[in-house]
């Protein structure tokens, strides 16, 4: 895979900001969106390409 999302081997992103104690959701909207995505895709009557 070679495309804009493939970061493997690229240069220039600097050091890693290591965060040892990340909560599962740092912002309320993160949990909300995961919940919405899970809730509307169960039962899965379509696939991501159709979406």
């Amino acid at each position: 895979m070679d495309g804009i999302h493939d970061a493997g081997g690229k240069f220039g992103f600097g050091s890693i900001k290591v965060t040892p104690d990340d909560p599962p959701f740092k912002e309320t909207w993160e949990g909300r969106m995961l919940g919405v995505a899970r809730a509307i895709s169960r039962p899965a009557d379509w696939n991501s390409d159709q979406f």
């Binding site: 970061a7 493997g8 992103f13 890693i16 909207w29 995961l34 919940g35 979406f51």
Partner: protein, 227 residues
């Protein structure tokens, strides 16, 4: 309009539709006042109002990912492998099948390959295109797992990346890097802590850190890890 069409229309309306005040600094999506929080709230409200979404189901998913699914599930698998030779063999041969036998509640997992650390081999997991991760075993990814700085350098300079996590490897330890995909995820089986022979599965699981199952931690100790 069927259910899928209604949902995609709402997604377009809230997330993709060009806004009047698009800023040049926007990257990949269209901004609106309040940012992603307002967009996600709008999507959630529309989906509920149109009867496409049950808000209680959303709350239940948030609760499951906040409290139940997380690194503790993966730690149980690791502790079992340390204690049960046959399970360890099965786990390394077919990770998904072995974990299914444990009948862990609430987990969901596709194909999984388990790779075992040894005194002379260290494994590191990354997803260079995005953030593929064994959610059913480890929960939500840590922020750094999604950063370009981690994804780009894990395959180019894994020893340098590990040093940033205070994992300093000597030259006689080989590093194997595993690049995850949407179809295949990886779990590192870390080495059992020295001096833990007297412990059974439950206290052993307490010693397993999340990072040790990704490969950014190596030498587990008897001091309980923070999961």
């Amino acid at each position: 309009m069927d259910r899928l069409q209604q949902i995609t229309s709402i997604a377009y309306l809230c997330f993709l539709r060009p806004q009047k005040h698009r800023t040049p600094s926007s990257r990949g999506s269209f901004p609106c006042p309040g940012g992603t929080s307002v967009k996600s709230q709008s999507a959630w409200t529309l989906l509920v109002e149109k009867g496409l979404l049950d808000s209680a189901t959303v709350d239940a998913w948030i609760e499951v990912y906040s409290d139940e699914i997380g690194p503790k599930v993966g730690a149980k698998v690791v502790a079992r492998a340390w204690c049960d030779h046959d399970f360890r063999k099965h786990l390394l041969a077919d990770g998904s099948a072995a974990i299914k036998e444990m009948e862990l509640s609430g987990w969901a997992l596709g194909d999984l390959k388990v790779v075992e650390n040894t005194p002379v081999v260290h494994h590191l997991v990354v997803c260079t295109p995005c953030s593929c991760y064994p959610h059913g075993l480890l929960g939500i990814q840590p922020s750094w797992y999604k950063l370009e700085s981690y994804r780009s350098r894990a395959v180019r300079d894994p020893r340098g990346v590990l040093a940033e996590f205070d994992v300093l490897l000597t030259d006689d330890v080989r590093v194997d890097v595993w690049d995850s995909t949407a179809e295949l995820r990886y779990l590192v089986l870390p080495q059992r802590p020295v001096g833990s022979d007297h412990l059974d599965e439950t206290p052993l699981a307490e010693l397993v850190t999340r990072n040790s199952m990704i490969g950014t931690d190596r030498n587990l100790t008897l001091k309980p890890g923070v999961l």
